[in-house]
Amino acid sequence: MENILPILLGTILINNLALTKLVGLGQLAHFGEEEGEILCIGVSAALVMAISSILGYFAGSLFDLGVLNLLVYVLLILVSTALVMSGVKKVKPEMYERVKKVLPLLSANSAILYLLLMTGTEGMEFLLQGTVANDAQELLPVLVTAVGAPMGLLFAFILYGAVRERLSVAHTPKAFKGLPILLVYAALAVLALSGLNGIL
């Protein structure tokens, strides 16, 4: 029980998948033009991640997936993406028109698959860096991670969206225009977040 707060804090900030493990960076660098779109895409990505990681936990614990684990995980992600897409279509039809080209690509977000693979193969220990090990396969940590990690992803989406907005009007050296300057920014973000290491 006392592990809930560390997992939550850890997944949102300290072990934020997109900002410290550098998964899903490619999508952060491209998706969304303005704030509303970025928020919509970020929330959808977080929902896809939450749904797929819970589904993945049950699939992994009910069946012995073996060599087929990747295929099963990818299919689960596709199903959750389709679910979230239909949800967005129902709740915000006018926003759906603007983001419908991008939303299917969320199923190719590596942060989502990374979470599934890690929980599937190593349980939750990777998020706590060895502080607990015995209850790693229980449901509660999985549920907490399924809330925390998507929030971290949403955080990363918003952060990168804001940075891209500011970079578009900044005077960047010619050679660094586009992706390189964003990577420099990402490196600084990693350094900043690494200052939080060890508070758990």
């Binding site: 660098a29 992600i77 596709l78 199923s107 050679a175 992706l179 990402a186």
Partner: protein, 212 residues
């Protein structure tokens, strides 16, 4: 990602990883040493070629709105294939890269090669693009890995990724002047940014002189 449609992939201008962010996750993870970069680069090149062929075949029978799901399943299959191949033939590289080999299932370079990120084109055209992107990807990986390993260890020790036998090694920078920053994830990002800037600068200056 819609802007990928009419883009000319090149080694310096529009390098797939350094300016289009295709397969960036894998690139950041495997460039810790030249050996892993070489091994994984060749593996990805192989998978890109297979993905190009299979994706081209699937294109004919798949409606365009279903291309992303189909492409993802295809690349998951290829990533599993790659993982098993890596575990069998280059175990040292596989254990070093770890989780990032199965993560190739969502590597956008493979998806790009399978034709899921672009509009329908002819088979030859997409195959050419895929091959070009794959080669440019390997070159970028090697450049990043070379500089990172040089900065971290002060020299290069290239092993044969298949057998683990040392091919050559040299030492350039004395031990007390090495930068361990570049071993971590922040260093990976910084070095990728620097190499990206370098490549773009080379590409731009070539353009100004009326070259490619």
């Amino acid at each position: 990602m819609n802007k990928l449609n009419n883009i000319k992939i090149g080694f310096f201008r529009n390098n797939p990883v350094l300016s289009l962010a295709l397969g960036l996750t894998t690139a950041l993870a495997v460039t810790g040493s030249v050996t892993t970069a070489l091994g994984m680069g060749l593996l990805i090149l192989l998978l890109v070629i297979v993905a190009g062929v299979l994706g081209g075949l699937l294109h004919k029978v798949t409606p365009s709105e279903m291309m992303i799901p189909v492409g993802l399943v295809l690349s998951a299959f290829l990533a599993k294939l790659g993982e098993l191949l890596a575990l069998a033939y280059m175990p040292t590289v596989a254990s070093e890269v770890g989780i990032f080999i199965p993560l190739m299932a969502v590597n956008s370079l493979i998806l790009f090669a399978a034709g899921t990120l672009t509009e329908k084109t002819s088979f030859g055209e997409s195959m050419k693009n895929a091959l070009l992107a794959g080669c440019a990807y390997v070159v970028a990986l090697l450049a990043i890995a070379f500089l990172r390993e040089l900065a971290v260890t002060g020299g290069i020790a290239l092993l044969n990724p298949l057998s683990g036998v040392e091919l050559f090694s040299f030492n350039l920078i004395p031990q007390q002047f090495t930068l361990s920053l570049f071993a971590g994830s922040a260093g990976a990002l910084l070095m990728t940014a620097f190499v990206g800037g370098l490549f773009q600068a080379i590409g731009k200056s070539g353009n100004d002189k009326g070259g490619k």
